[in-house]
């Protein structure tokens, strides 16, 4: 594993150091360094275009041109073939949600192979996201935006993934739905899942997460705990330009 402070209360799960990522010739992530410990919810905050999504894609193996290092539970993510990344326990919920139009809700939900035991059962998923109940035969993309987001989250929970990459789950959703998703994140944290969250909504980030990194031009430039984020709004607002 890594050189976490000696008797760490929480073992390190994700350790990213000097991560770089490219789209073709275009260098987008410029040496990001951050970490996530077991059971934590950690956010990446930052303006549009800062490279948060690309960082997640690089970790999930969707973006393939990468340098630096990224380890999940000691597995070298950058050396893992793309179709084996999921087996390290990493579940990817993309920003665009990635619900398949040619698949029904049930087919979408059951699509990702189970990677390890202990996944969230269908009954629990329906308790967590009651909107998905009874919608099995509906075409995936006929669901509302919020329901598609729930489906995208539910889909990776079922596989037994216990490290979730969650990219802007509340983007463009009504406040009621945002609340439902916040509630679900709380339930997942209680189950012991570890989550790396990209978020623009500071209030949501405060309510949901333990720690926060600020990403600017493909680098992690600052870190906040919840107290600082709450009390020092000027500092974070300066980063986000609000």
């Amino acid at each position: 594993m890594t050189d976490a402070p000696a008797p760490a209360a929480r073992p390190r799960r994700l350790d990213v150091r000097d991560l770089h990522a490219w789209y073709g010739e275009s260098h987008v992530v410029h040496g990001a360094t951050f970490h996530v410990d077991r059971g934590e919810i950690v956010t990446l905050l930052g303006r549009n275009g800062a490279g948060k999504t690309t960082t997640m894609r690089a970790l999930a193996g969707v973006v393939r041109t990468r340098k630096g290092s990224a380890h999940l539970d000691g597995h070298d993510l950058l050396a893992t073939p793309p179709h084996r990344v999921a087996r390290t326990g990493l579940g990817y919920v993309p920003e665009e949600r990635g619900i398949f139009a040619s698949l029904s809700v049930a087919e979408n939900l059951l699509l990702p192979p189970v990677v390890r035991p202990g996944g969230v059962s269908l009954a629990e998923i329906h308790a967590l996201f009651p909107n998905l109940k009874g919608r099995d035969r509906t075409q995936g993309t006929r669901l509302s935006g919020g329901e598609q987001q729930m489906l995208a989250i539910a889909r990776v929970l079922r596989t037994g993934a216990d490290f979730i990459l969650l990219d802007e789950p509340t983007e463009g959703l009504a406040p009621v739905i945002v609340e439902e998703i916040a509630h679900a994140l709380g339930a997942l944290k209680a189950r012991g899942l570890t989550i790396l969250l990209v978020e623009q909504n500071i209030r949501f980030a405060l309510a949901a997460a333990d720690r926060h990194y600020v990403v600017e031009q493909g680098r992690v430039v600052d870190e906040f705990d919840n107290t600082t984020l709450r009390t020092d709004r000027a500092r974070i607002d300066a980063y986000l330009g609000v």
Binding site: H83, R84, A86, F100, L103, L111, P112, V156
Partner: protein
Amino acid sequence: MLSVPLVVLLGQVVLGLINGAFYAVLSLGLAIIFGMLNVINFAHGAFYMLGAFVCWLLLTHVGLGYWPALVVVPLVVGAVGVVVERVFLSRLAGIDHLYGLLFTFGLALALEGGFIFVFGAAGNPYPVPDALRGIVRLGPLILPLYRFWVITASIIVCLAVWLLIEKTRLGALLRAATENPRLVTAFGVNVPLLVTLTYGACVGLAGFAGVLAAPIYQVSPTMGSNLIIIVFAVVVIGGLGSIGGSIVTGLALGVIEGLTKVFYPAGSTIVIFLVMVLVLMLRPAGLFGRET
């Protein structure tokens, strides 16, 4: 051209269904390959020809008859397809799909040329298996049993493939990988392997059609290129990427072709292309294609 007896009409419909059955099986495979690989598989007719040839060679050189060939030939042709995908097509993935088209076109020419070189251009007859000799009566219609079998077997195979793709988990994986291969990969599925096996299976299906065709048509190196041009028209009419659409279109166009033979025999060779022109003018994405 005025009063055509009903029996003659029905007879042509059934004969048309035989051609339509081949169109359906072949265009089905083309549509699936196009969806998964983004390749217009010009070699599809050559694999159909290969199927008929392997069937004939098995009989003449190994003494293996029609029924075992029905199983062995698709496996052999499918294995050739797997090698072709692994060694060549997979390296063309991700670049302009013109390259895939050029490669498969070249492969088709090479296969056809190679078979002409070794076996000559003349056709070789293949006997109808004993169990399928004779005739069937369907009401007023009299039909050779073998042709009845071709229609039935093709429709069953098409339906089975359709069910596999629309109703099973494997089918859901194929549909999802067609839409967003990177995300399906991130979920832990070996998509390149899925693509290879899909190509092998679809090409094996063309080989199966070749076995069905062997006792009807002469087994000749050019039998594939004669058929594939029409099959491409069928795919264009049905709309690339629609599985159900390619089955229905294939059968329907076979029937239209058959009926044209009754009313205006000279037009039967071009009627499918006329339909294609009409469809392209009215619905450029094809009858069952998604408009974009």
